[in-house]
Structures are given as structure tokens and as C-alpha cells.
């Protein structure tokens, strides 16, 4: 049985320091674009020329993954989907998969959640209804169909997923390293299941958030958090609910630019490689 650490959260200087702590080849769990994405770290990973990353979409991916794929940082993706939502398909992802540059392990949303919940509980696998009859099954050596030990029907089970690193952004971090993500509880599942968890935060908050009855339900305890770092507007161009909205115009501009390798390269030059880190 593997053992995950009880952390004393480290405070790092910035998003670059977090990008430096995530090694090449790591299995990195990322939340979708609507759920507090650590975009400042994504840009820092591209600047440090991260290679061979394996991304886990919890349960889907979008802009963050498309940027990392286009910049050559990614070897493999496990996700239920990769899309830019209203801005359209994820162009760098689609091209990389079509050309065989990135391996895709297709999943379905609740299976990602279930496999992480197995890791949360420290059990080897988790069952999920449905899925039988889907071609997803044949491509997944880590999923199998068993007889329900208590009933007459068959059911799919998926092996637990233990990411090397969870990565997301939070509204607040306090002095103990507790972080507040509000209703985005899939981020708590990521933190609970991962060997290491890295969190950027919008603002420092005074006091201990676990002592505040109204804040505590939206908090992820520092026991799960390896390191935090400040990153004001660290989710941009994605949003932080109650703080700033998703920059739809920027995402539409990206979706247009990233249709070609040249357009993507120009986008990287302007907004990632030559951008002054926040």
C-alpha cells in the first residue's frame, strides 16, 4: 500500500517556484477551466520547458491543457474531454492527437471522479454504473467488468488514480497553508488523492480559516497541501468566482490564433514566453 504525506505546507515565492517543483514526466491532476485553474503555473511550466507531463483532467480539460500540449510539454492525457467550451474545440490538442504526438487515454467524467475517490479512501478500485457497451472500456487496461458480488448484474470497476501532483488556484490561503476553494470540491478530491498538491492563491487571509464556521466548508486543510504561492489574477484568462470573470474575449482570440501552429507560436510569444510573470 502506498502512503501519502501529512504535509507542513511550504510557502513558495511565486508561480515559477511551483513550476520548478513539478518534475518532468509527472502525472498532474488539473481541474477544468471553470474550476480555479492555476494558469500562472501553467505559463511558468511552459517557460521552464517542462517535458513529458501526463495530464489528468478532473473530469475535463480545456485552455490550460491546450496551451501545454501546443508548447510541447505533454506526453499523455487522461480526460473525459478536452475542449475550449463556448470558444470551440481545443485546436492544439486535436492536432497533437491526430498526429500521434500525444497519447490520449479517453475516460468518462464520473469515472475520473470515482478513481480519485478510490485514492481518497485508500482502496484499490471503485465501481461505477453504466459504461458497459462503450468502446472506452476496450482501451482501458485499468478498467474491467466484474460480477456484482451482492447482486445479479455486472459492473465496471476502475483502478484508483494517485496523481503525482495536484495543481489548482485558490481564492485565499491562510498562515497555516489552508486554502479556500468554496464550492469547487473536485479540487478537494484532487488534493486528497494526490502525492503532492500545489496551490496558487489570489490573496493571503489573516487568521485560521478552519476556525471560521462559514469559511471552513470551502477550505482544504493544509494537511493535503504541499506548497502554496501567491499569484494575483493567477487564473486569468479564466475566472475566480466572486473575484473576476472568465475573459471570454481573450479565449475567443486564443481559439482563433491556435488554429495554426504559427498563430499559436505568436500567442505564446505575446502572452507566455515574453510576458512578465505576475
Amino acid at each position: 500500500m502506498h502512503a501519502l504525506p501529512a504535509n507542513e505546507t511550504r510557502f513558495l515565492a511565486d508561480a515559477e517556484a511551483i513550476a520548478a517543483a513539478i518534475p518532468d514526466g509527472a502525472l498532474v491532476a488539473l481541474a477544468p477551466d471553470y474550476s480555479l485553474a492555476a494558469m500562472a503555473v501553467v505559463r511558468a511550466l511552459i517557460r521552464r520547458r517542462a517535458r513529458g507531463l501526463r495530464l489528468l483532467g478532473v473530469p475535463v480539460l480545456g485552455f490550460a491543457a491546450d496551451l501545454l500540449v501546443g508548447a510541447g510539454c505533454v506526453a499523455e492525457i487522461e480526460s473525459s474531454a478536452v475542449s475550449l467550451g463556448e470558444a470551440g474545440p481545443a485546436p492544439r490538442f486535436a492536432e497533437a492527437v491526430e498526429k500521434g504526438l500525444v497519447r490520449m487515454r479517453d475516460s468518462t467524467c464520473p469515472m475520473v471522479h470515482s478513481a480519485l475517490q478510490a485514492a481518497e479512501k485508500g482502496v484499490p478500485f471503485m465501481p461505477l454504473a453504466g459504461v458497459i457497451g462503450s468502446d472506452l472500456l476496450a482501451r482501458r487496461a485499468d478498467w474491467t467488468v466484474i460480477a456484482d458480488p451482492f447482486g445479479a448484474e455486472r459492473i465496471v470497476v476502475a483502478r484508483a488514480i494517485v496523481p503525482d501532483a495536484g495543481l489548482f488556484h485558490a481564492r485565499w490561503a491562510d498562515a497555516a497553508g489552508n486554502v479556500w476553494v468554496g464550492r469547487r470540491r473536485e479540487l478537494a478530491t484532487i488534493a486528497h488523492a494526490s502525492r503532492a498538491c500545489y496551490v496558487t492563491f489570489e490573496e493571503r487571509r489573516e487568521g485560521d480559516m478552519l476556525e471560521d464556521e462559514l469559511l471552513a466548508p470551502g477550505v482544504i486543510s493544509s494537511v493535503y497541501v504541499t506548497a502554496v504561492a501567491p499569484a494575483p489574477r493567477g487564473a486569468w484568462p479564466l475566472g475566480v468566482p466572486g473575484c473576476y470573470a472568465m475573459d471570454d474575449a481573450h479565449l475567443a482570440r486564443y481559439a482563433q490564433a491556435a488554429r495554426t501552429a504559427e498563430g499559436f507560436a505568436r500567442y505564446l510569444d505575446e502572452f507566455v514566453l515574453n510576458a512578465v510573470p505576475a
Binding site: P32, Y34, S35, P59, V60, S79, S80, A81, V82, S83, G85, E86, A87, P89, A90, F93, A94, V97, E98, M104, D106, S107, T108, C109, P110, M111, H113, Q117, L128, A129, G130, V131, I132, G133, S134, D135, L136, A152, E153, R154, I155, R183, R184, R185, E186, L187, A188, T189, G239, P241, A245, M246, D248, A252
Partner: protein, 235 residues
């Protein structure tokens, strides 16, 4: 009264979800969302409409997994799925076709089983989309005995027509063609076989009351969550 094609489809969906207790909307589905919100605005409290990606006042407090847990428990009556390909047995493919990569299966491999009924929705009605057999089954349209399955397809809504699903025969049945389209045109652009009545009705046009609701309270909510779509349809 003139109307946009998207408004006709939203009205058709509103009729299909009438009386349902709970309709849930997944990723990137502004027309199904508008249809459900129209039904709710018209009929009062029903259906409850849960938009997974609602930006403000999101109905879920346990993250996105709560949608799937609700469905697993049987608390979702109507869900919506699309497809890069959809075939005559209501199998859907969201992964790959003709060497092209699509976004992926999302929650379909679970939701198609767990929701009490699923409305398939795809505006593009061509032989490229409506195929004899999907190249990859993201989620099957039906399941043999011995596999737990609560629900399946109710209907297929496209930019040209409405089909209902006959679970016993495992076939679609052409229910109506939209104004300006014909049964012959639907036959020409559909790659799978389906049943059809002798005389094919025309999909009812939106009423003035429906359009007023769509362009008022429904448009306001859609604009918060699908700003690009709202600008395109409602200016």
C-alpha cells in the same frame, strides 16, 4: 412572427421536457438549456433546471461530481447528449471520426444509462453526422439484459427534424420536419434507416408567448452562461 432557427429548436425541446421534475444540462448546450428554461418559465416550477457550468448561483456545492451522483441516484429525469456521429441505434460517438479527433465522451458513458431519459441534440443534420454505424461508441443507445440501465434515448433533435425513439424496435421514427424542410430532404441527409408516418407533420412554430419568454427571462440567463451564443441569436 419571424424567429431564429435556434428559437424553434428551443421550443421543441421545451415541449419534450414538459412535466419533468429535473432537467440537467452538461457542457456547451445553449439550445437545450434555453428549451428547459423556457419550459420552466412557461409552466411555473417545473422542471428544475440544473446547469452544470452555471457561472453564478451554480446548483452544485460538491463540485462537478455531484451531477453524476444525482444521476446515479435517479434524481435526474432529462439529460442532453450530442455526437460527432449518431447512428440509427442511437449510439453516439464523441471521440473520433474520419481521422479527426473530437473533444471526448464527457459524462455520456454514464449519463446515457443513469438519466431517466436523454434527448439527443445535434444541429448539423448530414450524412457525416447521422451515420449507419458510429466509428466509436462513446455511449450505447441500448443495453442487453444483465446490465443495469435506468434510461435511454427519448428523441433526436436536429436542425431539420425531430425523431422519436422506439425502444421496442430500437429505431428512430421521424416525428416532424421543421418549417422550410421536407421529409424527402431529411431522407436524403440521413445516413441510417428510420420509420416514418405516411404524412409527416411540420414542427410547430414558436408562439408569440414563447418568443416573449425566450427573448426576455430566458435570454438573460443564457447570456450569463453562453455569452457568445446569446449575442449571436438575440443580439
Amino acid at each position: 412572427m419571424s424567429y431564429a432557427p435556434e428559437e424553434l429548436l428551443a421550443c421543441a425541446i421545451a415541449r419534450m421536457v414538459q412535466g419533468a421534475a429535473h432537467a440537467a444540462i452538461g457542457a456547451a448546450s445553449p439550445i437545450p438549456a434555453a428549451g428547459c428554461l423556457l419550459a420552466r418559465a412557461r409552466d411555473g416550477a417545473r422542471p428544475r433546471v440544473s446547469l452544470l457550468h452555471r457561472r453564478r448561483g451554480n446548483p452544485f456545492t460538491e463540485g462537478s461530481r455531484e451531477l453524476f451522483d444525482l444521476a446515479g441516484q435517479g434524481r435526474i429525469d432529462v439529460f442532453f447528449l450530442g455526437g460527432a456521429q449518431i447512428d440509427g441505434e442511437a449510439n453516439i460517438n464523441l471521440v473520433e471520426a474520419g481521422g479527426r479527433r473530437f473533444p471526448g465522451s464527457f459524462g455520456s458513458a454514464f449519463m446515457y444509462f443513469a438519466a431517466k431519459r436523454t434527448i439527443l441534440f445535434r444541429e448539423e443534420h448530414t450524412r457525416r453526422v447521422l451515420v449507419p454505424r458510429v466509428e466509436f461508441v462513446s455511449a450505447p443507445g441500448w443495453s442487453p439484459p444483465g446490465i443495469a440501465r435506468r434510461g435511454g434515448p427519448q428523441a433526436l433533435v436536429t436542425g431539420r427534424a425531430l425523431f422519436s425513439w422506439d425502444a421496442a424496435r430500437r429505431r428512430f421514427r421521424l416525428q416532424s420536419v421543421h418549417p422550410g424542410h421536407s421529409a424527402g430532404e431529411v431522407r436524403e441527409h440521413t445516413g441510417f434507416d428510420y420509420d416514418k408516418p405516411g404524412a409527416v407533420p411540420v414542427t410547430p412554430e414558436p408562439t408569440a408567448a414563447e418568443l416573449a419568454l425566450l427573448r426576455g427571462p430566458v435570454a438573460a440567463l443564457i447570456a450569463e452562461n453562453y455569452p457568445g451564443f446569446a449575442r449571436r441569436v438575440w443580439g
